[in-house]
């Protein structure tokens, strides 16, 4: 078992995928010579050469659009979008083209393109650098969406995403890049779309993904001191969602709180709340509660701690759930 920060774990995962299949290639802004602004692709150009680790012009639609053409040629491009808020110039190519190409080609060819997006807050950055855009992609048929919370999952999920014959949006919780965790380089332990029980408990189920899983652990620790046993589910996959794991947990705890950095309106958390109401209505003792970013633009960074859900806001929802 190795101890790696998440950025390094992704780097190792990319290296492993590129070694296993010479059709795997990286493309994006500043990823080759510089190694990416977060250094996730550091050293790959030296190992695999400039034809497989490509610095592109500064044009997100161009990156994804040409990746589609490369996929038609048999390549497996992994595109880096530099920051969450910069992906929208590529939105058309992702949603209108990439997501629909397999259907348009009636299954005669797959489009194994991975879009890596560093996302989320907690880094005190300027506007467009801290957003959580996952709902747009979860809403789009033809895309798979995953987000690791740990270095171990980061290492394996990136390889699963690259190996998939379908397009995958791979969301990297950038505030976790520098945090170390154990990585088992021998075995993943879970398929790409399986949620993970991150902590077992009996009184309430807490669901989250990415950096939010860390917040949920903090909340669960505090709750435990107060005699409340919280179970934590790390979603890992946002589309498709692993409802079997969530429903099984709620059958046990009878209560569910879903937490996310993203704005609440029409979010992944909202989708989970609606589905659990359909599938577990009679076992629940309380309505599903959501803890989210506010329905505002991401605020100036000095206000991010008031915008992003923290352990206290999760616990406030836990208290309300337990009070039913």
């Amino acid at each position: 078992m190795n101890e790696l920060p998440m950025a390094k774990a992704i780097n190792e995962g990319l290296k492993s995928a590129m070694t296993a299949d010479d059709k795997v290639m990286m493309m994006g802004q500043d990823i080759a010579q510089l190694g990416g602004v977060f250094r996730v692709t550091e050293g790959l150009r030296e190992l695999f050469g400039p034809n497989r680790v490509v610095d592109t012009p500064l044009a997100e639609s161009g990156i994804v659009g040409t990746a589609i053409g490369l996929a038609m040629r048999g390549y497996r491009p992994v595109c880096e979008i530099q920051f969450d808020g910069f992906l929208y110039p590529a939105f058309d190519q992702i949603v209108t083209q990439l997501a629909k190409q397999t259907a348009r080609h009636e299954g005669t060819q797959g489009f194994p393109v991975v879009i890596r997006i560093p996302y989320g807050g907690h880094i005190g950055a300027v506007e467009h650098h801290q957003e959580s855009p996952e709902a747009y992609f979860a809403h789009t048929a033809g895309l798979r969406v995953v987000s690791p919370a740990t270095p171990h999952d980061a290492y394996w999920l990136i390889q699963d995403a690259i190996a998939s014959s379908d397009p995958v949006i791979y969301l990297e919780p950038k505030s976790r890049y520098w945090h170390k965790g154990p990585v088992d380089l021998e075995a993943s332990g879970a398929p790409m779309h399986k949620a993970r029980i991150a902590r077992e408990g009996t009184d309430v189920t807490l669901v989250g993904h990415g950096a939010m899983v860390t917040v949920l652990h903090q909340a669960a620790e505090i709750a435990a001191a107060e005699g409340v046993s919280a179970e934590i589910i790390d979603l890992r996959s946002l589309s498709p969602l692993d409802y079997d794991t969530i429903v099984a947990s709620v059958n046990k705890t009878k209560r569910l709180v879903v937490a996310q950095e993203a704005p609440e309106n029409a979010s992944v958390g909202s989708e989970i709340a609606a589905t659990l109401t359909e599938r577990a209505f009679y076992v629940m003792e309380a309505p599903v509660l959501r803890v989210s970013g506010f329905n505002t633009p991401f605020p100036p960074a000095r206000l991010e701690n008031q915008y992003l859900p923290d352990a206290d806001r999760v616990l406030e929802a836990v208290d309300r759930s337990l009070a039913y």
Partner: protein, 361 residues
């Protein structure tokens, strides 16, 4: 070639004369045959749309020379990315044109497998998106080392079609930038038909569009797109240069959309009658016919082409009327290559929902 069909020799066309020297009267007859058959197909498809057989039809009438010349100039190993009006190109690359009708009728969102149609890729309805796909594929040709060997019959290149309206889209500019950055083996073939639905090209650009491409650093040329020989020659020269390692090239073919943008459009609301008459007098098929007559081609040839065109149209009509709707399960098929629980669940639900009606009957 002038409208009277006579060949014009001057210093502007000198470098292109060599590129058509291997063509003979048989080739010109073939150009004429295809232009005529596909125009008749086009008229028939428009009629079928009017009779409720299709959601939409996209006519290419008037643009046959630009398409036939350029498509013949590509080589078997090349990849072709059309916009959605390149019916002549489709025919030349071996597509059964009923597949275009299947798409516009609404039984598929694609219509064919490019790997089985001599690399003729799918129509792309969102303007200019395909320019980036073409550029990416051309980057792949470069990474594969499948160009610039010096063997013109083996080196691959990409030919991408788009219109004057597309040049206003960001994707078209990004494609030119990526092509230039990576020196892709690729030709951008702009059919400037003068109208983006109701907006004339003069509103899209104050500069001739081939000059805009030059600003991106691409060798570019403006040609008479209603001259099939010029279209062939310019494309042949540019594609062979691109496949030989000389990077991307750009051709602006001046032509005219004689018909509507699509069947949902009424060009009489925005176009001047005199402009239409001018371009009708410069019809590309008439021009080639004039040339063939100068060469002494007998009248019976033109008669036989007209008969073939009628037969083709009748065949298309019969095939269109025979198209069956896809099975309802097709909604969920091919959304993903690999198993997906949501597709499985929803398909199962729809099946049992349908069966519930049968049980109740």
């Amino acid at each position: 070639m002038g409208q009277d069909g006579a060949l014009v020799q001057d210093n502007r066309v000198e470098k292109y004369t060599q590129a058509i020297s291997h063509l003979d009267e048989g080739d010109f007859r073939e150009f004429f045959r295809i232009m005529s058959v596909v125009r008749r197909f086009d008229v028939e498809a428009g009629n079928l749309q009017r009779q409720g057989q299709m959601a939409l039809w996209v006519p290419s009438i008037g643009q046959e020379a630009a398409q036939v010349g350029s498509a013949f100039a590509s080589r078997a190993q090349d990849h072709i990315f059309p916009a959605y009006r390149e019916h002549c190109v489709a025919y030349i690359r071996g597509l059964d044109l009923i597949d275009i009708i299947r798409m516009l009728r609404g039984v598929t969102n694609g219509g064919w497998d490019p790997r089985k149609t001599n690399n003729f890729h799918l129509y792309t309805l969102v303007i200019a998106s395909q320019t980036l796909h073409a550029t990416g594929l051309a980057m792949g040709i470069g990474y594969d080392g499948a160009c610039a060997s010096g063997d013109l019959d083996k080196d691959e290149a990409v030919l991408v079609y788009f219109g004057d309206g597309a040049t206003s889209q960001g994707d078209a500019s990004e494609a030119l930038i990526f092509a230039q950055s990576f020196q892709t083996p690729q030709v951008f073939f702009l059919q400037n038909n003068h109208w983006a639905i109701s907006v004339p090209v003069r509103v899209q650009s104050r500069t001739p569009l081939y000059e805009r491409a030059a600003g991106f650093g691409l060798p570019s040329v403006q040609i008479d797109g209603n001259d099939v020989l010029m279209s062939y020659a310019a494309t042949r020269v540019a594609m062979d240069a691109a496949r030989s390692g000389q990077g991307p090239h750009f051709i602006e073919a001046l032509t005219y959309r004689i018909g509507a943008h699509t069947t949902s459009d009424d060009p009489s609301k925005y176009r001047d009658e005199d402009e239409l008459k001018f371009w009708q007098a410069h019809d590309p098929i008439d021009r080639l016919k004039n040339h063939l007559e100068i060469l002494g081609v007998e009248e019976s040839f033109f008669d036989s082409v007209a008969i073939e065109a009628e037969d083709y149209a009748a065949d298309i009509r019969a095939k269109t009327l025979a198209i069956e709707d896809p099975p309802v399960e097709a909604i969920f098929r091919n959304v993903f290559m690999e198993d997906h629980p949501v597709m499985t669940r929803e398909a199962a639900w729809l099946k049992q929902y349908g069966e519930s009606f049968e049980e109740g009957a």
